[in-house]
Structure formats: C-alpha cells, structure tokens
C-alpha cells in the first residue's frame, strides 16, 4: 500500500527532503484523481532524486481554511513549493499569503483554480488547469446539439453549482449561457453550499418550480449524479437534456444507464502530473522544461498551461459530433474509451 501518500508523513524522514504541498479548494472526488496524478508525476519525474516529495492537502474549510494552511506552511521550513487551487479568485487575503510565501523563497503556482487574472496575475508565476469559460462553452455547445436533435428550439434551463459566485463556477455558467444563446432562457442558478442533500432538493425544486425546463446543467462534479437521480426518481428524464461537468463514478454510472447526455471532463490527473513537472523544474532552475511548458511566456496568457478538456458522450450515435469542437482544446471520447482510460490508471473519477 502507498501509505506514504497519505495525509500524514513519516515523522523520522530526513529533514533534507523538501515538500511540495498541493492545496485543494474542496474535497470533491475530483481531487482524488488529481492526487493520483500527483503521485504518478512524483514517480514519472522522479522527484525523490531531487530531494523532493509531493504532499496532498485537502482543504474543506473554504477561504479561511486556505489562508490558515498557507500561514501554517509559511512557518514549516521543509516546505519548498505550494500548488494551490484558489477557492476565491478575488480574495485579497489569499493573494497576500501567496506573495508572503514567495517572499520566503517558496515557489507558488495555481492549479485548476486561478487567481483573478485582471488584478492579481503576479501573485503566481504560472497557472495549470482548464480554461473554465471554454469548458462552459463546450458544454453549452454540446447541450445545444442534443436539444437541436430533440427538435427543442426554445425553453428554460437551470444550472446547479456549490457556490454560484465562485470564480470557476461563474465562468463555466457564463460559458454555457453564451453557447446556448438567447433561444434558451436561464431560469436560475442554484447554489447548494456543497451540501449534497440540498443539491438534490435544488433539482427537485427546479423541476417543480419551472414548468418550461428543457435542460439541466450540473456545474460541479457532484451535481451530475444529483440531477440524474432526481430526473430518474421523478421519471422526467425524457423531458430534459442533462449536461454536466467532470466525471464522478456515480455520473459515469448514470451515463451508462443513459441518464446523462454529455459530460465535459477536465483532466485533474494531468494537472497532478504537470504540477510535479513544473515544480521540479522551478525548484531545480530547469529553464528548458519551463520554456517547454510555457513556450510563449511574456505574451498575454503566456503563463497559462491548459490541461485538456474532454467531451464524453454515451455512444457513437449521440447527436454530439467531434467536429463541433476545436480539436486542439477538446478531446472527443466515447464513454467506453473514457472508462478504458480511467481503468488504465485505476481511477474511478475525473
């Protein structure tokens, strides 16, 4: 068993081993995949040789939790680098802590959740992750395709997320809205404060409250199974097109049963790997690798490394076709292929 990857570290390891700590923005299974990637990357890029080890820290305490952790790590002198998925892009306090860490010579990058780029771009040198607005557009396009295939050219839809004003949620929702266009009316954006029970109740209420719904959009990973389940339980599945983000085990199961039309899947696994790669390079002063990852550094958005997006559809006869998407950004996968990929890395979610 790979106990060493656990939340806790051997107390007698040599202090010369420096830690790279990955701080998440929540405790979604999404992150277990990312952690797997991190462990993979640790081996792949042989951090041990460089006297480094990657360490995964799940923050379930929101902004305060992240601030608290960043402060903690600032005091621990075996921490060499921090990779963080910022929970609030505009949170000045988090920015301050990031800057403070770098003042102490600790390398900091953002992964998956970036800071507000207009304001705080220089709070971190690099960002690794999805472009959420693109992700949103992709999901919107796919959903629209299915709607078109169903001959539904008007109606309302509701988007579900943990916090509707969280940065990545907002940009995804905006992307979806943009892509679905004016023909379809956004009835509501429902927040569940990451309470799964409430996530379900939100869907139930949406269905009873808005009579003209044609699509239900799940923005955060756990919204997908919530939507699918409720659609099933209220036997209204055929009334809605269901498009969701990420691929929780439950969501995959739901798609197998045909209860989800499309999943736009990020690649947290790759995020993990790339984090190790970049961190090692930054700490080892390996400019070549950095150049390789960020070829057009200095130019606009040159500090962004986008990990791929995947559109996963149940089967080949889905109305969603590869040519709808820009192949450079989006990888089109059928569910079986996607599951095969998961199996390859013994993953359950993505």
């Amino acid at each position: 068993s790979t106990g060493s990857s656990g939340p806790a570290q051997p107390a007698v390891a040599k202090p010369t081993v420096k830690r790279i700590v990955f701080i998440t923005n929540g405790d979604d299974p999404f992150w277990s995949t990312c952690r797997a990637g991190l462990e993979e990357g640790e081996k792949l890029h042989n951090l041990a040789a460089a006297g480094l080890k990657a360490d995964f820290d799940l923050n379930s305490g929101g902004a305060q939790g992240q601030i608290e952790r960043l402060r903690q790590y600032a005091t621990q002198d075996d921490v060499a680098g921090i990779a963080i998925s910022v929970v609030q892009a505009d949170n000045q306090a988090i920015i301050d802590e990031l800057l403070n860490l770098q003042k102490k010579g600790i390398k900091v990058i953002t992964v998956d959740g970036d800071v507000n780029r207009e304001l705080y771009r220089d709070a971190r040198p690099f960002y690794i992750g999805t472009d959420n607005i693109v992700g949103g557009r992709t999901l919107g396009t796919a959903t629209k395709a299915v709607l078109a295939a169903k001959k539904v050219d008007a109606g309302g839809y509701v988007q579900f997320a943990g916090y509707t004003d969280n940065d990545n949620a907002r940009s995804r929702m905006n992307g979806v809205q943009e892509a679905l266009g004016a023909a379809y009316v956004e009835r509501d954006r429902m927040a569940d404060d990451m309470d799964h029970q409430r996530a379900r109740d939100n869907v139930r209420n949406a269905i009873t409250n808005h009579k003209d719904l044609v699509a239900l959009i799940g923005i955060w990973a756990y919204n997908a199974p919530a939507i699918a389940d409720v659609a099933l339980e209220t036997s209204t599945r055929d009334k809605f097109v269901i498009g969701t983000f990420d691929a929780q085990a439950l969501a995959i199961a739901a798609m197998e049963k045909g209860n989800i039309d499309v999943m736009v899947v990020q690649n947290p696994f790759d995020m993990g790997i790339q984090t190790c790669r970049l961190m090692k390079a930054m700490l080892g002063g390996d400019e070549a690798t950095i150049k390789e990852m960020f070829p057009n550094q200095g130019q606009p958005d040159g500090d962004i490394y986008t990990t791929g997006l995947r559109v996963v559809v149940p089967s080949a006869d889905s109305p969603i076709k590869p040519e709808l998407f820009d192949a450079k950004v989006v990888e089109y996968l059928l569910l079986p292929d996607f599951k095969a990929w998961l199996a390859k890395y013994r993953l359950t979610d993505s």
Binding site: D195, D201, N209
Partner: protein
C-alpha cells in the same frame, strides 16, 4: 433556565398539537393558492413526496432527540452521528468489496447486512458512550454530546481516509455507494424511509405512553432526584434514552447514505442535530425535560419541513437562502405559543422598561429588512422595494410603540 410550570402538561399538549395541525393545513392551502404554479394542487404527489422524504428523514432523528429531551437531557451529536454511521456502514462495504471495485458493486448480501448492522451498532456504542460520560463521569449532557458532536465527525473522516488508503491505496474523502441493494433502497427511498419513520414513531409512542419505561423517562426528565428516590434506576433510563437518540440518528444515516448513494463524512448531515431539536421543540417538547409527545414531535417535524418546502415553492429561486430564517422564526413562535397563556395571564408586559424600549426598534428594523428583501419576489413591488421596506419598518415601530404605550398606561392606572 426558569421552569415554566404546567407548560405542556397533559392538558395543554392537545392544544399544542391541534395548533400544529391547524398551522399545517393553513400553510398547505395558503401556499397552494398563492404559488403561481399552484404546485401543491396541480402536482400534489410530487410535492408530497418531496416533503415526505425530508420529513421522514428529519423525523427519525427528531424522535431520538425528543426522547432524550423528555428524559431531561440533550443530544447535540445527532448530525455527526448520522455522518458517523453512514461512514461506518460504507467502510464495512468497502472492506467486503473487491479492492478494485470502488463503486462497491460487488458487495453481497452478507456485506450489506454487516454494513447496516455495523452502522446501527455504531449508534448503540456512541449512545453507550454518552450515557457513560453523563452518568459515570458526570459530564453535563450538553458538554458530553458537544464533545462527540465535534469528535465523531472528525473520527469518521479519519477512518474514511485510513481505511480507503489501506484498502484502495489512495485515501478518499467520500465513498460512492452503487451497491445494488442500496440502489434498490434508493429507488423506493421515500416509501422505505417513511415506513421506517412511521414504524419508529408508533414504537416510540407505545414506549412513551403505554409502558413503565416511558413513565420513568418522563419522571426522570421531570424530577431526577424524585425518580431516583422512587427506586428508578435513572442511569439505565438515561442509557436507553441516549442509545435511542444515537441509534435513530444512525438509522437516518444509512437512509441518507442510500438516498445520496454517497457517504461523505465531512459535511453529511451538518447541523441536522439542531433541526431535529428544533422539530422536537416545535412539537412541544420542553428543554427542561419531562414534557413532550411523539405526536407533537411528528407534527412539529412535518410543519417545519412543510414551511421550508412552501417557501421554496413561493420563492422560486434560491429559496434555501431563506430556510434558516423560516426555521428560526417558526421555532421562536412555536415555543412562544406554548407560553402564551402564562404570558397574557400574568399581566406580563411585552416591552417592560428601557429593555423593552430597545427591543422595539430591533424588531422594527428586522421587520423592515425582511419586508424589503421578500418584496423582491413580488412583481408589483419591483422598484419600490426600499420604500416598502422602510414603510413596513415604520409601521411596525408605530404599532409596537403603541403596545408599549398601552402597557405603560395600564401599569399607571393600576
């Protein structure tokens, strides 16, 4: 807390329950009428199912809370207990499942049985722990269950990470349950949970109102020393009460797990303990102990959930923002109701002295803000919201001040 004699005594309890029934009918009809879609009338069944699901779930926990409260104790740990039992059950499933099978599809009947009984057993053990802390270590129930409230959840999280790491090689913060049995349970979720709820309610009613044990529970809550001197083994009664409380919570935990087909210790059922206590209190249980009924608790739970649901029908979007306010106001009003007779009779004033004077603006401001915010959902008030809010605030201020004046008058004339 100052005792309120006679409150909820046999004579007054029917009153409480009748009031609740009336309130429930009222809320139902009103909502059905006011709601633009008239959902309650048009799609009665779906609405009923939603309310039932939440009611039965909360109700199961509330029954436990009620018994503990009637016995003169308090159990703050219910929410954590729910998470704990769900996690325990899930982890047992993990151990029974093939390590490669992270969706727990491969768990057989034995695994399921062990899982469920494991969860319930966990409840029993925690209840025993509570009883031990309270009776042998002599901790006040509030402290003992406060400790487990914070302790159990983190215990569950730690276990979850540990076992998954050992079993799967990588720690997980939540466990997805696709085990066929629980999927099945989920399919018929409402009916099963409602069934269990009613079963438990009837059983609890039998125990409380027809058995000697029940009488002793009331006696313990009413006057512990008297109970002890009458030869009642009060410690054992407490043992029963806390075990009952914890076990109902653990049953709810398993249902919740099946319903969400996930066990997530971090925030599963956070704060449910307070809702359960609130439901019991709304149902007429007195925190001084010795007072309360099963029927009242059931009605209280139903009322609470119905009101919450009604609001989500009326305020079409983001109703959950208002849920807390609803619960708070309902609780305050319900308990006030149980006192109203004392209040009026004893010529007690509502706004005595400066204290009262200070309370008036407070209430006015609250009313004004509430009006302003809720007006956002009313078409014809759009744009005039601030005006409306201020108006309501001022009116409240005037009305309350008038009351205050009258009271001062009355006291002068005396």
């Amino acid at each position: 807390m100052t005792a309120t004699p006679g409150q909820g005594g046999p004579r007054s309890i029917p009153f409480q329950e009748l009031a609740l029934v009336a309130a429930i009918v009222l809320v139902f009809v009103l909502t059905g009428v006011v709601d633009r879609n008239h959902t309650y009338f048009t799609s009665f069944q779906e609405s009923a199912i939603i309310v039932l699901r939440n009611t039965s779930l909360l109700g199961i926990i509330a029954l436990g809370a009620a018994v503990v409260i009637i016995a003169g104790g308090i159990d703050l740990s219910a929410g954590s207990m729910v998470a704990f039992s769900a996690t325990t059950c899930a982890l047992i499933l993990v151990l029974f499942a093939d390590p490669a099978d992270r969706r727990l599809l491969s768990v057989g009947a034995l695994g399921v049985f062990c899982g469920i009984s494991g969860g319930v057993l966990a409840g029993f053990l925690v209840g025993t722990l509570h009883a031990w802390l309270v009776t042998s270590i002599k901790l006040p129930p509030f402290v003992a269950t406060l400790a487990t409230l914070v302790g159990l959840r983190s215990f569950a999280r730690a276990m979850c990470e540990f076992i998954t790491r050992e079993r799967w090689g990588s720690a997980a913060q939540q466990i997805n349950i696709n085990t066929p049995f629980f999927r099945m349970l989920k399919e018929h979720g409402v009916w099963i949970s409602t069934g269990i709820f009613l079963l438990l309610a009837v059983a609890t009613w039998l125990v409380l109102s027809r058995t000697v044990l029940g009488r002793h529970i009331y006696a313990l809550g009413g006057n512990e020393q008297a109970a002890r001197l009458s030869g009642i083994r009060t410690e054992n009664i407490k043992w029963f009460a806390y075990c009952f409380g914890a076990m109902t919570a653990s049953i709810a935990g398993i249902i919740l797990m099946a319903d969400g087909s996930v066990a997530q210790p971090v925030n599963l059922a956070r704060g449910y303990e307070l809702n359960a206590i609130a439901a019991a209190v709304v149902g007429g249980c007195s925190l001084q102990g010795g007072v309360g009924t099963v029927l009242g608790t059931v009605l209280g739970t139903l009322f609470l959930r119905l009101v919450i649901d009604a609001v989500s029908k009326l305020i079409k979007s983001n109703a959950d923002v208002y849920e807390g306010m609803i619960v708070g106001i309902v609780v305050a009003l319900a308990v006030t109701l149980t006192q109203v007779r004392q209040l009026t009779r004893s010529g007690g004033e509502f706004f005595p002295g400066i204290r009262g004077l200070a309370a008036i603006p407070t209430l006015a401001i609250a009313a004004g803000l509430l009006a302003m915010m809720s007006s956002a959902n009313v078409e014809l008030l759009k744009g005039r919201m601030v005006l409306f809010g201020v108006g309501v605030g001022i009116v409240t201020l005037l009305v309350l001040s008038a009351v205050k004046l009258l009271e001062t008058q009355r006291r002068q004339t005396r």
